[in-house]
Symmetry: C2
Subunit: 393 residues, 2 copies
DNA sequence: ACACCAAATGTGAACGGTCACACGCTTAAT
DNA sequence: ATTAAGCGTGTGACCGTTCACATTTGGTGT
């Protein structure tokens, strides 16, 4: 015999009469009341949507036992229907589903999580979420996760160690089942190590350093492609405007650049370390426009290339007439820069999708996980040409 | 007397000997075992971080009762400490906190949500999450929500009714306590109405239509500012390249434009309806470059302005020499377009913050909620000048 | 008619917290 | 001395679901 106080059902208080204050009506009595109430409820619902908003009393959403009573089965049977159990007679399943639909029953995720200790949540630790790359990846991740029956918990972070650690802490505190790290900074690894993270996680970087999973577009290869493109056009004096030193991607791109320069036996201009912004690109461009001891610039991303070209325009340095410029990322706008930017495209959405696939396979034990490195693609537009030649139009 | 099977504590199986298979050790016995285990655990932890990863058995995280036993208090006392209850002796609190720290206890959110029926989650329904505006807003929302002790659940959506409805459905299914809608499309309202949404929600649009909360930068005013700027420069033939018709913001901007044109008694060029992308702006620009029956263009956003200027460049239409161009949003890159774009800045982060503040006040009953409309700001750069005048440099 | 097996369904406990209330111990007021 | 009030703490029930196991049902072989 189970107990309760007040016994509110679908917003209707059922008085318990002579019973002690903390006693619930016995099962039979409730059953009768409930049938009645449910009937009323169905009517309300017809005019009023699934909510029971018009009832004045504090309302209570229907639960699995309510459904069970109305369908004339046990709560366990309802649970089995919800979990697509094999051993349910089709007619029973049908009836239960009808009731579920009728009363607008939604399973309580918290209760489910509590007993299964599975939250079906993937945590995303992301830095610079307002930039194109991370943003696109997160979007793809959300879609893929939903597809696989997971939800997302996103934690934005600054690049300092404390913030990263706090972010990870927040996620684990929410009992996420896996983590995707899109804050590809060196310090992330320290934080992960320090927390002795035991759940599956993926980082979206290209180094493959450490024994953890990582999925990414091959930054190193992309940088080599970009640099080789310039070399093949005939450039021998190439400057690299790089991303922040503590970003893994920035480092990988710089390594690719240096390798290619080295292989071609060219003079190595010291790279300029930037912060990914167009603003920085502009400042760098102002400086560079003064020197002019180069004929091409490889920028760590498209935004910096944009700022750079702006500064070159202001300084009457023609692109690509005087100087060729290559970017990285291929953000949607870069096709419309002036001149349209030659750049290296990376498929952010794809890495998002793959990282989810990988984690889901780890968590649920099935699904496909493909190879890890994704090839970048060289997009040749109008910001590059052979050195010394005037622009195409 | 409470019961359990197998009684695993911190990953160590405690054999129950003669007891029936489903009986837990009595409290006293567990207490002893636990003290021992906890001791071991503390040692492990010192080398190994808070996790108990090295234990071979299936592990179980410490719960409130484990903490209570180790601290020599009841679980209720621990609960009170967790919830910052007033009536706890400082020394007791201290002791409990020490144990919590020692064993690395984290409260189980699912259990808490189950009993309180509060998830402390705010749902975000967002369309086009990869665009600058929504993205920036979401980022700010995440920060503000975390600040206020809420987490986010994000659902991305297409612009069709079914997708919007599915998104809302997903969020309510997760029992979010409130919803922020950043998919400011007309159909959103239909979906909201149809679902008879009973929880607090905010839309980030400027119409203030309906009786719900909405927080936004005043799009209408912004569009008027932009248009007036052109008029004041002396333009009389102004074209508007608008956003998609079903976007509330696009409509508001168009209304502002039309109003200003009307007030100045100018000829009304029929607006061109676009899709926010630079690509569309380019196509529109190709067409417009052919006509040339105007001297200025007001674009619904910066991206379209970018594409437009690209097309103008290709068509040898000088900006601002032949045609002035104004954008909307002031994305970070627009200061480095060629020419740098005159545009209307709106503070996406601020609307994100305010919407959270509003909801938190509604949910928790305190906090400050400021006025709803936020003033946009006119940013004058180099893409506008008086008609017929040659570009500034 | 019988036991017997599989399929379909039901029962009790548990998950890890919070809430309402009860209880014991001081201290101040009668 | 007796009672009242209040602080600090403990107890039992409950939130809504799933799990392990128990029980019923219907069909079959002998």
């Amino acid at each position: 015999m189970d107990h309760a106080k007040g016994a509110q059902y679908f917003g209707c208080t059922v008085m318990t009469g002579e019973l002690a204050p903390a006693k619930r009506l016995d099962a039979q009595a409730v059953c009768i009341m409930v049938s009645h109430r449910a009937h009323v409820n169905v009517h309300i619902q017809a005019n009023d949507g699934p909510g029971m908003s018009t009832e004045p009393e504090k309302l209570r959403a229907p639960n699995i036992r309510d459904v069970a009573r109305l369908a004339g089965v046990s709560y366990q049977t309802v649970s089995r229907v919800l979990n697509n159990s094999e051993s349910i007679k089709p007619s029973t399943r049908q009836r239960v589903l009808e009731v579920i639909d009728e009363v607008g029953y939604r399973p309580n995720q918290a209760a489910r999580a509590l007993v299964t200790s599975r939250t079906r949540t993937i945590g995303v630790l992301s830095g610079l979420t307002s930039h194109y790359g991370p943003t696109t990846a997160v979007h793809a991740i959300e879609l893929a996760a939903r597809e696989a029956g997971y939800r997302l918990s996103i934690s934005n972070t600054e690049s300092d160690y404390e913030s990263i650690r706090a972010g990870l802490d927040q996620l684990t505190g929410q009992a996420v089942e896996a983590i995707i790290v899109i804050a590809p900074q060196v310090r992330v690894y320290d934080a992960i190590d320090d927390l002795a993270l035991t759940l599956p996680f993926v980082t979206l970087d290209s180094t493959g350093r450490g024994r953890h999973h990582s999925i990414s577009v091959d930054q190193y290869a992309g940088a080599r492609m970009a640099t080789r493109h310039l070399i093949e056009l005939g450039h021998t004096e190439i400057v690299h405007v790089a991303g922040p030193q503590d970003w893994i991607e920035a480092d990988a791109r710089m390594q690719g650049f240096l390798r290619e320069i080295n292989d071609a036996d060219l003079y190595t201009h010291p790279p300029i370390l930037g912060d990914w912004t167009a603003q920085f690109g502009y400042h760098a461009g102002r400086e560079l426009a003064r020197e002019r001891d180069f004929t091409a610039v490889f920028c760590g991303n498209d935004q910096m290339a944009l700022g750079l070209m702006h500064a070159f325009y202001d300084g009457s340095v023609s692109v690509p007439g005087d100087v060729s410029v290559v970017g990285f990322d291929d953000i949607p706008d870069s096709a419309h820069f002036l001149p349209p930017l030659t750049t290296v495209r990376q498929d952010f959405a794809e890495i998002g999708r793959r990282s989810v696939a990988l984690l889901v396979r780890e968590l649920d034990g099935f699904g496909d996980a493909d190879q890890r490195q994704i090839a970048p693609e060289m997009i040749i537009r109008k910001s590059t040409s052979a050195p010394g030649r005037m622009p195409g139009h």
